[in-house]
Amino acid sequence: MTSPLGPAPGPETREFWTAAREGRVTAQRCAGCGAFRFPPGPVCRRCGSDGVAWVGLSGAGKVVSWTVTHQPYHPDLVDAVPYTVLLVELAEQPGLLMYGNTDIPAAELRDRLPVRAVFRAHPDGWTRVDWAHAW
C-alpha cells in the first residue's frame, strides 16, 4: 500500500519521480531563456515562456539550511525520528532549491556544505533524492 507521505505524481511531476527511480536528478528547463525551474510549473517566472523540457542535473549542490526533526508529525514517522531535512541549492542556478533527507551527522552540517545527490529506494516503490557529502 502506498504511504500517504509518498510521492503522488501528477501529470506535471511524474517525470521527476520516474527519473529518480532511474538514478537521475531532473528539473524543468525553460525553452525560452534557459532558466531551470523546480518544482515543475506551467510557465517560466523569468521570461514567461511556457516552452519547457526536462533535463538532467549534475546532482551537485550546497546546503543552505537544515532541521533535525524530533516531533513525529505523522504516524508513519514515529520510527523515523529524529531525521534530518536539508534545503539544498543546486549547482546549476542560484535559488534553485530541493529538499531531501541526509545521513550526514548534524554536527557536520554547515552553511554552504557541498553535497551530492544519492538515491534511496523506499518500500512504497518510489525513489527519493537524498544528499550525502560531496567528497
Partner: protein, 386 residues
Amino acid sequence: MNLRDTTAIAGIGYTELSKDSGRSTRTLACQAIRSAIADAGLTVADIDGIATHQVNDCAPLGDVVAELGLRNLTWFAEELGGGGKAPAVVAQAALAVAAGAARCVVVFRALNGRTGLRMGGSGVDRPIRSADLEFQRPYGMIAPAQNYALGARMHMNRYGTTAEQLGAVAVTQRAHAVHNPRALMRTPIDLDDYLGSRWITEPLRLLDCCLETDGACALVVTSADRAADLRRPVVTLTGWAWGIGMNDFSNSDADLTTTPARLVARQLFERTGLGPTDIDVAELYDAFSISVLLQLEDYGFCQRGEAGPFVASGATGLGGSIPVNTHGGFLSEGYIHGLNHVCEAVAQLRGEAGERQVPAARVALSTAQPGYINGVSSALLLTGQP
C-alpha cells in the same frame, strides 16, 4: 479614495481559551460574536455583515448566521486560509463598510485547534495543499514548524542569532501572559526552562511553538462616525496591507530570513505615512518564536540581522521601546489564528489591558504571517484616541 481612519473596531469578544472546549466551532463562534456585539453596545439586529476565514476547521458561515438569527445581512465574506488572513479579513470588512455594502460587520475566527483539526500533521490532511508539498512531504517535511526551523537556522548561520535570543521571545511573551487572565500559560519561565524544553525540530524547541488552542474571538467593524456614538472608546482602522511571497522553493535568493511582511510593511507605511517609530505596541504573528524575529526586521523595528540582540535587550518587553505580543501571543495566550492579536491591539488602544497596558498606547500594529515562510501575509495599523 482615502479611507484612513474612516472605519473603526467598535467591539471585541472572546470565548474562554482552552485545550478542550467541549463545544462545536458553531457554538464557539456564536459566543464570541455575541460577546463582541454586546461589547460594542449593539444588538444582533444591528449586524448586517459577517466575515471569517477558516481552513475547513470551522462550521460553515451559513450555520453561524442561522444560529445567530442574522436576518439583516447585506454582505458576507468567507475566506479560505489560515495564518496570513486575519488582518486581511478585518480590512475587507472595513472596505465593505466604507463602500456602503454593510454598516456593522462582525469578523470572527473559531477553531478547535487542539480537539478538532490540528495544524501541521500529515500534510495529506492539510486542507490547503500547495504544489510544493509533493517535493517536501516524501522527506518528512510536512509541518510549518519545520519550514520556520529552516529560517531560524539560516538566521543563526548568517547573523549569529543564538538559542538564547530565540528563547528571549518565549520568556518575554510569557512574562506578558502572567498579566493576562485569558492566557493559557501564565507561569513565568526563564531561559533555563526554555533551553530545557524538548526539541520539536531543531533549532526550535517546544517553547518556540504556539499553543494548540480551542476557542474563538470576534470583533465588530463599523464606520468611525457610528463608533463614536457607541459605548466603547473609538479605535480606528488607519491602514491595512496585503502581500504574498513566492513559494518555499522559488524565493530566488534562497533566503528564508525575510518574509512577505517586508512587502506588507512597505505598503502599510507608504499609505499611512507612518513608520515603525510611530508604533507604540506591536502584536506580531508568532506561530513560532523565529517569526517574531523575522518580522521585527521586516517591519523595520531593528536592522536586518539584529532582531536577536534586540529582543534579548528587553526592547520588546513591557516598558521596552516596542512592546510585542502584550497578551502573550500564540506562545502563551493561545492560538486563535491571528484575530486574538487584533483584539489585543484594540484593548491596548482603549487603555483596557490592565497590568499589561502599554502606557498611552495610541498606534498599534497587528500582523499575520503564513504557515510557510513565503506565503500570504497581511497587517493592520490601528489608532486609539489621545
